[in-house]
């Protein structure tokens, strides 16, 4: 656990991507199985211990530390795991003595006062860590996996008792998730490729076919074993990604144009007798969409956009807002299946009937895709149409005129390009619709989490109703620079009217220009509208609050 704790600690303070890669690669090459596998699974949030949750940790802490002191500390630190790691009472360490450094010069010859007694140590008797070997990550994982709701507190307590503050932090982050060290699954795979000098695309494919702690993957990486055989596994193929199209035009003779749908990108894989749905990051999300798993019965791998049908759209694709209700679920109710049925708009075919189509050019894959889609149930799968534009100007006109709730822009795909992993220059472009903007007034602010725990960084803003009342229309916590954040934070502190726990109501005087991708009718908000992906685009210190936008202006933008 020491090496893992040190790795996390270094990663937290390391900003450069290359340095992160180097740190992880170094850890992977110097740590034995299965610790390194569990560690990398923890870093990429691939572990889940259902019996260990933050509420349980808080309850456990309350048995050792005064609840009020915990609450005050949690408020200050901004993170439950870190608070618990710092607060967990340990064996007394006198604050003088044994340090070796410092007692020179003026301090010399003074009498040493009695050693401090740790605050809580008199209340509990802890097992001595002496004589225990270093606790491995694997041992912690085993213990946490075996925990039930009833046994989890005692198990976690005994693990915490045997670690120092850094080790406790690592353990709690491993147990609870929310590592926040800036390590995506993609970065971890790259670090693996770097550590063992193997192609990253191979790592991407193998990664999801092998469960943690990935022993066969490491054996292959170290050249001790053959590349694991994926013939009978529904494994993930790394997605081909697009660059944004910026102030350039392309020749439609070389590029095909399709609508860019505002859903979530998915890959559906059927292999080895099972069907799996992967999200863009390579996470498996099959459980959230059982109807699609059941409906996909062909030996194939498709790439497409997952959408839901909405009544307002006459059974056609609804906005992202509607889809959101179905994301991140481990089980789905019948009601939800009926109200927001999911379907996939298919735009690529990566494999069919045992043949890998990825090396083929887009035109050929498209031809096979058009032949393949009729084999799927049309209730759950349809074909994403190619936009038949005369030329680029015609395409631009159509993009500007697109009013479909589920259209986010246009995709441009090079006709002769194979399907390659990652984002390669010149092959695929995404050309989003221009964002919409509105001038809104800041109403409330809330402190952020993590790095922003001391900043008021989440803002609720509103627009004027017909009766001259300011109604909230959205909330944003991005789009500004660090300098602007400092300014906004100061504005909030200097203009606070009321405090409601972590929320401050501010003087309704600051106009924020808010950018958003689209706007939708919503019954949950008093204003009747909800923005998609709102962010602060400008601080309008020059504009009086009375001149901010009216709700009516926003209603006119609803799709």
């Amino acid at each position: 656990m020491k090496a893992f704790a040190a790795l996390i600690d270094r990663l937290i303070y390391t900003r450069s991507r290359n340095s992160k890669l180097a740190l992880i690669a170094d850890y992977l090459t110097h740590t034995p199985d299965p610790d390194r596998g569990w560690a990398i699974a923890a870093l990429t949030e691939s572990l889940d211990f259902p019996a260990v949750k933050s509420a349980m940790v808080r309850t456990l802490l309350a048995t050792r530390v005064d609840e009020e002191l915990f609450r005050l500390s949690r408020h200050f630190v901004g993170d439950t795991a870190e608070t618990a790691a710092l607060l967990w009472p340990e064996k007394p360490i006198p604050f003088r003595g044994g340090v070796g450094v410092g007692s020179v010069g003026l301090a010399q010859g003074r009498e040493t006062p009695p050693a401090a007694t740790r605050e809580q140590s008199s209340q509990v008797s802890l097992p001595s860590p002496e004589g225990e070997g270093e606790m491995s990550v694997a041992r912690a994982v085993d213990a946490l996996s075996a925990a039930t709701r009833a046994t989890a507190p005692a198990i976690l307590a005994s693990l915490l008792d045997r670690l120092d503050a850094d080790g406790r932090y690592a353990l709690l982050k491993l147990a609870l998730g929310g590592m926040r060290v800036g390590v995506s699954a993609r970065l971890a795979k790259q670090a693996f490729a770097q550590a063992f000098d193997v192609p990253v695309d191979d790592v991407e494919e193998l990664w999801h076919a092998i469960p943690p702690p990935y022993a066969p993957l490491f054996a292959w990486g170290e050249g001790r074993a053959e590349r694991p055989d994926l013939k009978d596994v529904a494994f993930f193929r790394p997605f081909m990604l697009a660059h944004p199209l910026e102030e350039a035009t392309v020749d439609l003779a070389d590029y095909a144009a399709e609508w860019k749908w505002d859903g979530i990108r998915v890959q559906i894989v059927h292999g080895g007798g099972e069907t799996r749905i992967y999200s863009r990051g390579g996470e498996e999300i099959s459980a959230a969409f059982p109807e699609l798993v059941a409906a996909f019965d062909q030996d194939a791998v498709i790439d497409g956009e997952l959408l839901v049908r909405g009544d307002a759209q006459g059974g056609e694709a609804a906005s992202f807002n509607a889809l959101q209700q179905r994301l991140g679920r481990k089980t789905v109710s019948k009601k939800m299946l009926a109200e927001s049925p999911a379907f996939v708009r298919v735009y690529d075919l990566l494999a069919v009937d045992g043949n890998d189509l990825r090396p083929l050019p887009w035109t050929e894959r498209r031809r096979q895709l058009e032949a393949f889609v009729p084999r799927l149930a049309d209730s759950h799968f349809d074909l994403s149409q190619v936009i038949d534009a005369k030329d680029f100007d015609d395409l631009a006109t159509r993009r500007a005129g697109a009013r479909d709730a589920a259209i986010e822009g246009v995709m441009l795909k090079r006709r002769d390009a194979p399907y390659v992993a990652g984002r390669r220059a010149g092959l695929w472009y995404k050309w989003k619709r221009d964002p919409l903007t509105a001038d809104c007034v800041m109403m409330y602010a809330q402190r952020g989490n993590g790095r922003r725990a001391s900043f008021y960084s989440d803002y609720t803003f509103g627009c004027w109703s017909e009766d001259g009342e300011l109604l909230p229309v959205g909330k944003a916590y991005s789009g500004f620079t660090d300098e602007e954040l400092k300014w906004l934070d100061k504005f909030v502190r200097d203009n606070t009217l009321n405090r409601f726990g972590p929320v401050r109501e501010v003087e309704k005087s600051l106009v924020l220009e808010v950018a958003f991708d689209s706007i939708h009718a919503s019954k949950r908000h008093k204003s009747g509208i909800a923005m998609r992906f709102p962010r602060i685009s400008r601080i309008r210190r020059d504009k009086p609050a009375e001149e901010a936008d009216r709700i009516a202006a926003l209603l006119a933008m609803v799709t």
Binding site: I12, R15, V65, R96, G102
Partner: protein, 337 residues
Amino acid sequence: MAKAKSWLEPHPHGLYVKPADLWIDPSRPVERAAVTHGHADHARSGHGAVFATPETLAIMALRYGVDVEASHNQAFAYGDGFERGGVRFSFHPAGHVLGSAQILMEYAGERIVITGDYKRRPDPTCAPFEVVPCDIFITEATFGLPVFRHPPTGHEIAKLIGAVRAEPDRCVLVGAYALGKAQRVMGELRAAGWDAPIYIHGAMEKMCALYAAHGVDLGELRLVSETDKAAMAGQIIVAPPSALNDRWSRRLPDPVTAMASGWMRVRQRARQRMVELPLVISDHADWDELTTTISEVNPKETWITHGSEDGLLRWCELHQRKARALHLVGRDLEEEA
């Protein structure tokens, strides 16, 4: 016995000792001020007369242009003091920075100690804190939450030296408050055997010289502005925190950014400061030091001036100690902790 509340008045901008018509650490100019130590949130310019230790007066002269020679300003060594309006004032080491003092006030049979800022750990650059028995103990609480437990200073210094040695082509740039923390880091480095020159930001030069003039040996110091970039590879640089991500640091060879502060205990705080190497070194008492000190002083009542007073108040409540928070304003908790 007089009741403290009748002769010592807490105001948002300082403590007023009524019979002596004198303020302690006032945050605005007053006729007469007794000052615990030289940090800007305790020592201000513009007072009529200042009463402080000789080191604190020297620091105030250097930083705020206070005239040390003027007869209305008076210096008192540790253990010494003066009497005014029936109140006996005396200065006792607080262990915070050079010259830092607790002020003991005795009036009509009642003893009150105000700590200013203090710590209990050894510090090679100043005299250690002394426990002064009293009826009312007025303490700081910068780190008045149990999450703040500073690790042994030696561990942090070893971490710093380890980081320099690990990457000899780079340097480590330590952000440390120019008065106190900077000299402490240098003193601790010397005590740990680091005998190479330490490179400093120009803003620290005079304060380091003042420390040396008061007998605190910091070894050989060189100015970054007078050194070639290449010569600083594998070396330790000390600068004020504001210089860490400033253009000034571009003259250094690929610096690893470190920061010496008690706030570094909280990871997300360290990240906010864009720090790569957090060093938990503080000149303020941590939770254990605060609570142990209250137990050792064992006052009838504890008053808390500034910091996380809620946490320390709660501890006092749990230990059935009478306590109150004074809510003093103008105390800068971020920079020098």
